[in-house]
């Protein structure tokens, strides 16, 4: 039913040929202890495209996002059933190392969280973890990553300064550079723009547009205009009753979902009738 909807209408910028699913989720249930947060989510995330998860606060979209790099593993008492695959491989299969998974699936958080070390060391953190030691090689990676994160021009003369001395928006782009430095296949962004200034939001949206051709991006956002601007695909999540699990209500090409949603609840949400 989802597939059938994917073929009409052109989303902005992407070609007509459908890319493969980079991430694919089948029948996912997620629990915090006894509380079920998500029920029966089945969805695919297209490769080299941007997918937005939208929905009211507390509808489980961040929880869902954190399933893709197994960050929820770090919260005691959580569990999930169902299946998530990355390039066809089950990421929750026994024997899969979450540490290795997280090297391929990077994440940006709502609050910019640079380490209390220099800008250079922040970006070099990942490559150093993975064994890059040569100074020249690290210099290259740091510059490239900061350039891709649209923050190089602002920091190139102050690489030795503490990451926390930057403004909030610059910190967030520094965090993006830090993730890009390990060349992940997938970039998860958990409301990356909700805590920063509008100029930086613009710069982050610009860099997302540039990255889109090489990387798979999944962004959780409260801001529907942002979802409409940056994504080709959108999934709408909703928790209809308090204490009931949230569900995926509708998924489709962004252009279609925003102009002619199939579900009444999606329409109500995007026209601002609730949430």
């Amino acid at each position: 039913m989802i597939e059938s909807r994917l073929h009409g209408g052109a989303a902005h910028g992407s070609d007509e040929v459908e890319a493969a699913d980079k991430l694919s989720v089948t029948d996912l249930d997620f629990y915090y202890g006894d509380f079920q947060a998500l029920a029966g989510v089945t969805v695919g995330v297209k490769e080299r495209a941007t997918t937005a998860f939208i929905g009211p606060s507390g509808c489980g979209k961040s929880t869902f996002l954190r399933c893709f790099n197994r960050m929820n593993d770090l919260i005691p008492g959580t569990r999930l059933t169902g299946r998530i695959t990355l390039d066809g491989e089950d990421i929750y299969a026994p024997g899969v190392d979450p540490v290795d998974l997280r090297r391929r699936v990077g994440m940006i958080f709502q609050q910019p969280n640079p380490f209390p070390m220099s800008i250079y060391d922040n970006v070099a953190y990942g490559p150093r973890l993975h064994g890059v030691k040569k100074k020249a090689r690290l210099d290259d990676i740091v510059q490239q990553s900061l350039e891709r994160a649209n923050v190089w021009r602002e920091v190139k003369d102050i690489l030795g300064r503490g990451g926390l001395t930057l403004s909030g928006g610059q910190q967030q782009r520094l965090c993006i550079a830090r993730v890009l430095a390990v060349r992940p296949d997938v970039l998860l962004m958990d409301e990356p723009c909700s805590a920063i200034d509008p100029t930086s939001v613009q710069k982050i949206e610009d860099l997302m547009a540039e990255l889109e051709s090489e990387i798979t991006i999944v962004i959780v956002t409260h801001n529907m205009q942002q979802a409409a601007r940056v994504s080709q695909f959108t999934a709408f999540f909703l928790q209809e009753e308090t204490n009931e699990p949230a569900e995926l209500v509708e998924y489709g090409r962004t252009a279609e979902l925003f102009t002619s949603p199939e579900d009444k609840r999606t329409e109500d949400y995007i026209t601002g009738r609730f949430g």
Binding site: D100, N113, F115, L129, V179, V182
Partner: protein, 318 residues
């Protein structure tokens, strides 16, 4: 008075005080005045509390200084600090062996105790499950509550014979002192280090894990460096605790005012000598003990200054 009354009302539009409906402005003024008196007398009370502490330090310093300064004049600063013979009854007032003893026992205890304490802090803050933490942390805190004479007993009765067996001597000396002091400073260092680790923004933990770092990599590449100012603070405070500790040390070091020839030979520290000699010292001997107190005072002032300048430095970096 009228001016400050107005200030009070301006400062607190929602200020407490009965505001019965229909009461006139005269009633309001009365309430504000009593409130003002209460506020200002409380301020005076708290100021007095703070002053007592400051006065205490000042008075003690003055007292110790007045009683002790003469020894520096009489013996000479260099001969007093670096003279190698402490024979006060025969007029030899070199406290170098005691200074050496204080620092030797303190530094050894720090080398043993600080890694133990920092490891404990890391375990409590990063590794232990909430259940394990709820058992272990009170246990560590309890270490701080044990009277130091009990530590001394333990050292004397349990540790000393073991050391004696291994070294062939009586077991009074640096090794026994190190072991006892190392345990005694664990709670100080681990509590402050754990605070430093737990007060780090949780975001940097998540960020490190999300970068594909393991728990161990996160701890030693991100968390410990980020908390290092707090951890160094903790070690310095532990050092202050160790250098001032008297009773437990006194019981296990054998108390001979010489630079020990080995790690299981008797020696003395500044504090233990003051305690032991104070009972009978008179004249220059007594003055020399106060002179040693001045040295202890200066050492702890330097330590406090170190902690303060470090935390300022920490604020600049963070």
């Amino acid at each position: 008075m009228a001016g400050s009354e107005r200030d009070m009302r301006d400062a607190g539009p929602g200020a407490p005080g009965p505001r019965e409906p229909g009461s006139g402005s005269g009633v309001l003024r009365q309430t504000a005045r009593s409130q003002y008196l209460k506020e200002s007398s409380l301020r005076a009370l708290f100021l007095a509390c703070a002053s007592v502490a400051v006065m205490g330090v000042a008075l003690i310093f003055l007292f110790v200084g007045l009683r002790g300064w003469a020894i520096f004049a009489k013996v000479g600063v260099v001969d007093f600090l670096f003279g190698s013979t402490w024979l006060p009854t025969e007029g030899e007032f070199g406290i170098w062996p005691l200074i050496f003893g204080s620092f030797a026992v303190t530094i050894g205890a720090l080398l043993l105790g600080a890694p133990l304490a920092i490891g404990t802090a890391i375990f409590l803050s990063e590794v232990a499950s909430p259940r394990v933490r709820s058992i272990l942390r009170p246990a560590v805190e309890l270490l701080a509550g044990i009277p130091s004479v009990i530590y001394g007993f333990f050292g004397l009765i349990v540790l000393r014979p073991i050391i004696a067996d291994m070294s062939g001597g009586l077991g009074f000396g640096l090794v026994t002192g190190w072991l006892i002091l190392a345990i005694m400073i664990v709670p100080t260092i681990s509590a402050i280090s754990e605070d430093a680790l737990r007060s780090l923004s949780p975001g940097i933990r998540e960020a490190s894990y999300a970068m594909g770092a393991t728990k161990w990599q996160t701890i030693y590449k991100v968390l410990v460096p980020a908390a290092k100012v707090g951890i160094i603070d903790a070690v310095i405070l532990g050092m202050g605790r160790a250098i001032g500790e008297t009773m437990a040390v006194l019981m296990v070091i054998g108390n001979a005012p010489v630079v020990p020839a080995g790690v299981s030979e008797p020696f003395s520290t500044l504090t233990t000598t003051i305690v032991l000699d104070m009972a009978y010292a008179s004249g220059d001997h007594r003055t020399a003990l106060f002179g040693m107190a001045i040295i202890l005072f200066l050492i702890s002032m330097v330590l406090v200054a170190l902690v303060r300048s470090l935390s300022r430095f920490g604020k600049q970096v963070g």
